[in-house]
Amino acid sequence: MDETTLEGWAPEAGAAVSLAAIIDKAFDYRGNVTVVKVDGSETVGFLFNRNPDAPEPFVQMFDLDGAGPLTIPYHTIRTIRFTGRDTAAGNSYAAWLRAKEAAKSARRDA
């Protein structure tokens, strides 16, 4: 079965979900995200690192052109939207086995 995905998730940091939790989810996410900053500006790209233990906690990204790493302090981030395709979803081993079995059946029937 294919795993669930956060693709399309657009949370707002608050009582229900903290900014730190959203950042952790974005760090685990295998697609591009949109980092929305406190000043209203946005950065789109792949978030590959976060360090909440640094003196000034930060995330790091490569943008859509692969440029970077861009380092963005936690305190400048308002929220993160999961805007890119989740590359880890929808490609299950079970699906491949099903396709292989279907191909075998087709060959037998031919």
């Binding site: 795993e3 295998r30 697609g31 792949f46 690192n49 590359t87 081993y93 086995l97």
Partner: protein, 340 residues
């Protein structure tokens, strides 16, 4: 004996130097990932699920060499991604060989013949092609999710051997593997004339599509015991015999996550080749700021509970050889007798 004496000597003297220097944590094999791009999409692989701009990127040779110098490990393993898709792979290998690093170029071998024909490499005792083969034809093609890859890999192995290269195989085993079929596979691989085989249980990458087929510890011990008990004399494994004993449940080891550090375009990966919990900018920062106590089977970390993968436990096995008389004796006995 599957590992050449010169390589054994280089690794042994390196480990002894670390011991004499009382280095508590030292690297044995640098896992250098110049790119994530691959020409396969294997179900068990968690390495290639990235957006297009990341898959298009790669490290420069200079970045790779700086990481190699910084790390200092005597062995450099180049996985990926598929390293033969790295545009500068010829120059990178040449530079590493010039630095007398023992290089294991881990490849699915689909492009190997083409690259050999192009004259990209020169045979050397420092260079081994470590060809991914997860079993006999049916099992391998199923593992890599594409028919015909086994045939290509075997043809490429023969071609590389014919040209005088060192060739090993690396096999990842998942739940459901048949010990009998694997024993047949060992025969087949040795018939090809390779220098040795490397085997390891798979790891349940959080991002790998196949989560249901990873081996749990107890089942892994049973599988490897059935596979490796009464090994044939002709089977040669290019890895520590104590690691094989660990896989069989005969050794109780703890993980050495810093033993095979990983460097890629994101930096130095914390804490190991398999888990991605963040990146350090330098190797020194990786060693000094990673909370190592949070990893390994005894840490209680559930991500580590069932892991028995070579990148964490082979360094432990090698360290054990040089830390205790018993470890040294067990290694010598297993190496000489060929029994684990």
């Amino acid at each position: 004996m599957s590992v050449p004496l010169s390589q054994m000597w280089a690794v042994s003297t390196y480990v002894i130097r670390q011991k004499l220097a009382r280095r508590k944590r030292y690297p044995l094999v640098l896992m250098l990932e110049p790119l994530f791009r691959c020409n396969l999409a294997c179900a068990g692989c968690g390495k290639i699920q990235y957006p297009a701009q990341i898959l298009k990127k790669h490290l420069t040779v200079e970045q790779c060499l700086a990481a190699v110098e910084e790390c200092g490990a005597p062995i450099v393993s180049i996985p990926g991604g598929e390293p033969l898709m790295y545009p500068d792979i010829g120059r990178l290998v040449e530079e590493l060989v010039a630095r007398r690093k023992y290089v294991y170029l881990c490849t699915n071998a689909i492009l190997l013949k083409e690259k050999l024909d192009a004259g990209l490499f020169t045979p050397s005792k420092y260079l081994s092609f470590s060809v991914h083969l997860d079993g006999l034809r049916e099992e391998h093609d199923e593992a890599v999710c594409r028919d015909g890859v086994h045939v290509q890999a075997v043809a490429a192995i023969k071609e590389a051997l014919r040209r005088g290269y060192r060739v090993t195989t690396n096999s990842t085993l998942f739940d459901g593997a048949s010990p009998l079929r694997m024993r047949e596979f060992f025969d087949e691989v040795m018939d090809l004339g390779v220098e040795g085989m490397m085997i390891s249980p798979g790891y349940g990458y959080a991002k790998a599509p196949d989560q249901e087929h990873f081996l749990r510890a107890q089942r892994a011990h049973e599988l490897f015991s059935k596979m490796l008990t009464n090994p044939k004399r002709r089977w040669r494994f290019n890895q520590s015999p104590l690691f094989l004993q660990f896989l069989m449940g005969k050794q109780d080891f703890e993980c050495t996550p810093w033993g095979n550090p990983t460097y890629n375009m994101f930096g130095w990966q914390r804490p190991c080749y398999l888990l991605q919990e963040g990146y350090a900018a330098t190797f020194k920062e990786l060693l000094e700021t990673t909370r190592w106590e949070n990893y390994g089977r005894r840490s209680g970390n559930e991500k580590c509970r069932d892991c028995m993968v070579h990148c964490g436990y082979e360094p432990t096995a090698v360290n054990h050889t040089f830390s205790t008389w018993r470890g040294f004796r067990d290694t010598v006995v297993a190496t000489v007798t060929g029994r684990f």
